[in-house]
Symmetry: D2
Subunit: 333 residues, 4 copies
C-alpha cells in the first residue's frame, strides 16, 4: 500500500487527491496547503486524512511514501529535492522545474536514491493521445511530416509566467511523446499586450530530417480551439479535443510525387479516400496516470513520463522563451 | 469605353475575362494564351473577340487601352513593363513581381506615364474583408492586438514557387489592407517534404507597438481551413471564410487589467457579452474589383491596391522567404 | 427556514438535494431511498441529515415542511397526495402524474390546503429558455409561426414508459411556457423496435390561429441532437443546447408577401440581415428553480410551473400517447 | 445517336440541356420555352440548336427522338402524353404528374409503345444516395428501423404547390429507392402562414414490420438543413448533404436487448464503436442520370427511376396532401 501526501490543494490538487485516493493499492494520507480555506475544503472531502499547512510535515513524515507536488512551478525544485532527500517518490505538476539544470539535478538525485519521479503530463494518458501513439506505433501514418497544434482561448492568465510556460507544456510533452526523434532547434515569436507577459506565442520546432512542429498558444482568443493537425506520408489526422465524440479523424489522404525529371515536369497526385474516427477510450486521464504511478513504484519500473521527460520539456520551454525574447532567433537544443 | 485585353487564359484568366466583359463601360477586345486549347475555350465563350498566342500583338495594338496579366509571376515584370511603355493601363495578377525592385520600377514607370497599375488582391473586394475594414474604421475593435490567419488544405502545389509565394499573398495583402501600421520585421519557418519547395510555413510579422500578425500556410493539410482570428482591445472577431453565411463573428469579449501594483496583485477580468454576425455582401469580389479598375482609370484616381500595395506585399514575401531559408532569422522590412 | 426532505436519491435526486441544500433559507433535513447503496451515498454527502428507507417517515414527520419527490412517475400521485394531506409543500419530478385526473386531484388538494405544488420542469430555468421567453415578451420575434424541436440520442431507455413520456415532457413544458395560446389538438406517430415501447416518435401540436409545434424524439439516433427552430413573423431563432456558448442564434430573417392579387401574382420577398447570439446566463437551472420554490412558499406566491402547468403537460403526453396508438389520429385537447 | 429536345428552359432546364448536350451518344437538337428571354439565353449557349416557343414543334418533329420536360408539374401529363403519342421517349421533371391516375396512364401508354419514361429523381444519382444504397445492399446497416429526413431553409416558395409538393419529392423518391418495402399508410401535418399554401409539413410513412420514415420540410427556417438519420439494427448513419466532404457518416453504434423476462428485467446495452466516412463519388448527379437515360434507351432497358417510380412518389405526395388537409388522418396507400 503506497501512502501518498498531496502538497497543494488549489485548482488541480483536488483532482490529483481524488484520483490517488481512488487507486486500490494507494492511500491518501495527508494534504498540505498554506491556504486555510483550501484545507477546509480538503477536510470536508477527506475527514480522515491528516491536514497541514506545512509541507515539511509531510516531507518529514515516516508515514508518507510518496508526495504529489501540485504547487506553483517556482517551488517544484526545492520541494522535490526535500522529498527525494527524505526518501519519498515524487509526482510533480508540469512544468517540472523552472530551468533544465534544476530538473537534471532532481533526476540525478532520484536515480541515486532509486526513487521514482513522475511529471504530470496528464494529456499523455488521455484516450486521444494514446490512440495517436498507437497509430504511430502501427505505422499507420507513415513517415511523420509535421505536428501543428493550436491551443487558444480567452483567459486563465497566469501572473508569474507567460503563455508559453502556461499552455505550451501540454503540446511540448505530447510532441515529445509522439515524435521519437529529438528536437534540434526552436524558433519562437510572440507579444505581450497587457501586463508585460507574452499572451500569445508561436513556436516552431525543427527535428532531424524534415519533421517539423508548430504550436500556437494564445490567451486572447475569442473562441476556444484545441486542435492539432498531424501529417504523415501515408495518412493524416486531425485531433479536435473539444469534440465530445470523434476527437480523432484519420484521413486516408496524401500526396504522391510521380516524376522528378525537373521541377516543371513534376507530377503531383493527390489521394483522397475514406475518413475514419476510431473510438476513443473515455477513462479520466488522471485516473490512469495515478494508477500508473503506483504501478511503476510497485514494479520498480521507470515511467515514460519520468524526470527525463520533464527535463526535455523544460529545455524546450526555456529555449522557446529565449528565442521569443530575441524575436525568433533559432535556439539550438 | 475602356478596351481591355486579357493575357493568360488558364485557371484564373477566364474569371478575369468574364468580369471585365460584364463591366458596362469596358469592352473585352482580346485574349492571348500560348496554349491552343485555352484559346479554343476562349473562342467558344467570346466568339467576337480577337484571339492570339502572341502577347506582343495585344501589347502593341492601338485598339487596346488596358491589359490584364494573368500569367505566371515570372512573366509579370516584362509584360507589365512592355504594356506601360506602350501606354496601356495594367491589371496584374498577384503576386505583383518576383522581387521588390521590379515592382518599384513598374510603379515608377506608371507614375511617369500617368497610367494605372492595379494588383489583383481579390480578397480585398470580398464582402468579408470590406466588413472587417469597416469595423476597424468605426473603431469597433479598438486598438489591434493581433491578426492570426490559417490557410491550409491538401494540394494545389505550384511547381515554381513554395507555399509562401502561393498562399501567403492573400493573407499579406489582407493584413496590409487592415492594419494601418507598416511591418517592422518578419520571422518565417517551414519545411519542404516532397520536391524541395516548402509545403508548409509559419510567418510572424512584427508591427510597431505590440501589434503582431501570424500566418499559417500549408499544402499538406487533410482538411481545408480558412480562418483568421483578429484580437482587439475592445472586441475580437473570427473570420471563417468557409462558412456559407456568418463568415464573420464579432465577439463582445475582452480582458481588462485592473490593478498594476506589481505583477502578483494584478487583477485581470474577462468580459463576455453577445456575439454578432453581421450580414455580408455576397457580390463576386472580382466583379467589384473589375468595376473599380475601370472607375479608377476613368476618374484618374489611384486605386488602394495599386503598384505600391503590390510592392509592399512582395517585400514581405521576399523577407519571409529569406527568413525561412535562415530558420527564422528576423528580417527587417 | 424551510425544512425539506428529498424522497428518491437515484440519478436526479442527488442534484435536487444538493441544490436545496445550497439555498440559504432552506435546510435539507431528510433523504429517503429504498436502495441501501443510494442511502450510503447520501450519508457520505450529508452526514448530518436524517436517512430513511421509508417515505412515510418523512411524510409524517413534523420537522419536514416540504418534500421533493424524485421517484418514478407511477409513485408521484400517492406520495404527493400523502404529502399534501400531511400539510407539506411538494416539489415533484416531471412528468407530474400518470394521467391528467391524478394531477387535477392533487392541484385541488393543494389549493384547499393552501400548499405549494411545483413540477420540476427544469429547462424553464435555464438561461436559454429564459432568454427566449424574454425575446418573446419583448415581441422581438413577432407573431409566432412554429416551434420545431429535435431531441434525439442513443440510449437511456426507460423500462416503464415510451420515448414520449421520457423525452417529450421537456419539449412540451418548454412549449407550454413559451407559447401563450393553448393547444387544440395533437397528432403523434412513432414506432417500437426493441421491447414493445416506442423508441421514436413525432408529435405535432395544433394551436389556435396558425401556430404549430412539432417534436421529434428518438432513443435510437447515432448522434445527439438538441435543437429547436422557432419561427416568427419578424425574426427566427435556432436554439442549439449542445453549443457551449452561443446556444441561441437570432436571425433577422423573414418573408414578406407583397401582393395578394391571385396566387400567381404573389410577390414573396426574403429578408436576410444580421445574426445575433445573445449572452446566456450560465447559472445551474436547478439552483435557480430551488430558490424559486423556497421563494414562492415564503411569499405565498403561485409558481408558474405549478400543478396546473404539470397537468397541462400530462394532458399533452396522454393525448400524444393516444394518438400514437391510433397511427396519428388527431386527439383534441 | 439520340436526338433530344428540351422543353422548358427556366431554372432547371439549362442544367438538363447542358448535361444531355455533353453525353457522347446524344445530341441536343431543340430547346423550347415560351419566354423570349429564356430563348435568348439558350441561343447564346447553343447557337446551332433549333429554338422555338412552341412545344408542339418539337413534339411533332421527326428529328427528335426524345424530349425532356422541365416545365411546371401541371403541364407534365399533357406534354408527356403528346410526346409518347408521337413516339418519343420522355424524361420528365419530378414530380411526375399531378395525380397518380395521370401517371399510370402515361406508364400504360409508354409500355404499349415500347418507349422509355424516366422521372428526374436527380438525388438518386448523387454519390451520397448511391453509397447509402450500396451499404444497404451489402447489409451493412442490418434490418432498417427508420429513415428521418429534415429538409428546411428560407424561401423558394412555389406559387402553385405547397411545401410537400415542392420539397418532399426528393425525400420520397430517395426513401422509395432505399427502402425495398412498400409504404402502408401516411400521416401528414402542417400549416400555412402566408399565402394559403402550407409552408411547413411533417410527414410520417408507415412500412410493413416496424420500419418507419419521417420527413420534415419547411420553407420558413432561418437556417438551411439537409440531414437524414438512418437507423439500422446493425449500424446507423447520418447523411448531411451540406458537408463539402464526409457527407455520410456511418456509426458502429447500436442497441442490444439482452433479456426479455418481463419489462423490468430488460437489459439494454449500447454498443459504441468507430465512425467511418466513406469517400463519396463527386460526379454531377444529372450527368450520370443523363447518360443513364441514353443507355436505357439504347439497350432497351427499363430505368429504375421509371414511370412506376414516378407514380409511387406521386401517390405518396397525394396521400400526404390528403392527410394534411385532415389534420393527420392516416391515409392508406
Amino acid at each position: 500500500m503506497l501512502r501518498i501526501g498531496v502538497i497543494g490543494y488549489g485548482y488541480w490538487g483536488p483532482n490529483v487527491a481524488r484520483n490517488f485516493n481512488a487507486v486500490d493499492r494507494a492511500q491518501l494520507v495527508g494534504i498540505c496547503d498554506a491556504n486555510p480555506s483550501a484545507l477546509a475544503r480538503a477536510k470536508r472531502n477527506y475527514p480522515g486524512v491528516r491536514l497541514t499547512s506545512s509541507a515539511g510535515e509531510l516531507l518529514n513524515s515516516k508515514d508518507v511514501d510518496a508526495v504529489a507536488l501540485i504547487t506553483p512551478v517556482a517551488s517544484h525544485y526545492s520541494l522535490a529535492k526535500a522529498a527525494l532527500e527524505h526518501g519519498k517518490h515524487v509526482f510533480v505538476e508540469k512544468p517540472f522545474t523552472c530551468n533544465p539544470e534544476q530538473g537534471e539535478e532532481l533526476v540525478e538525485l532520484a536515480s541515486r536514491a532509486s526513487l521514482t519521479v513522475m511529471v504530470d503530463h496528464t494529456f499523455l494518458f488521455t484516450g486521444a493521445v494514446r490512440k495517436i501513439r498507437q497509430l504511430i506505433d502501427e505505422d499507420a501514418l507513415g513517415n511523420l511530416y509535421y505536428y501543428d497544434s493550436t491551443r487558444v482561448n480567452l483567459g486563465l492568465f497566469q501572473h508569474d509566467v507567460n503563455v508559453i510556460w502556461d499552455l505550451a507544456p501540454h503540446d511540448l510533452s505530447i510532441m515529445d511523446y509522439l515524435i521519437d526523434a529529438r528536437p534540434q532547434a526552436i524558433v519562437a515569436t510572440g507579444e505581450a499586450h497587457l501586463n508585460g507577459l507574452e499572451d500569445l506565442a508561436f513556436i516552431t520546432i525543427y527535428f532531424p530530417g524534415n519533421t517539423i512542429a508548430h504550436i500556437n498558444v494564445n490567451w486572447l482568443s475569442p473562441v476556444k480551439v484545441r486542435t492539432a493537425l498531424i501529417g504523415g506520408e501515408r495518412k493524416m489526422l486531425v485531433w479536435n479535443d473539444l469534440e465530445a465524440d470523434e476527437k480523432i479523424r484519420v484521413y486516408d489522404k496524401g500526396v504522391r510525387v510521380k516524376n522528378r525529371q525537373g521541377v516543371y515536369d513534376l507530377l503531383v497526385s493527390y489521394r483522397s479516400g475514406d475518413m475514419w474516427a476510431p473510438r476513443i477510450e473515455q477513462t479520466e486521464a488522471l485516473k490512469t496516470e495515478a494508477e500508473y504511478f503506483v504501478d511503476c513504484i510497485e514494479k520498480n519500473e521507470r515511467p515514460f513520463n519520468d524526470g527525463d521527460a520533464g527535463v526535455r520539456v523544460v529545455k524546450l520551454l526555456h529555449a522557446a522563451h529565449q528565442s521569443l525574447k530575441q524575436r525568433g532567433k533559432a535556439v539550438r537544443i
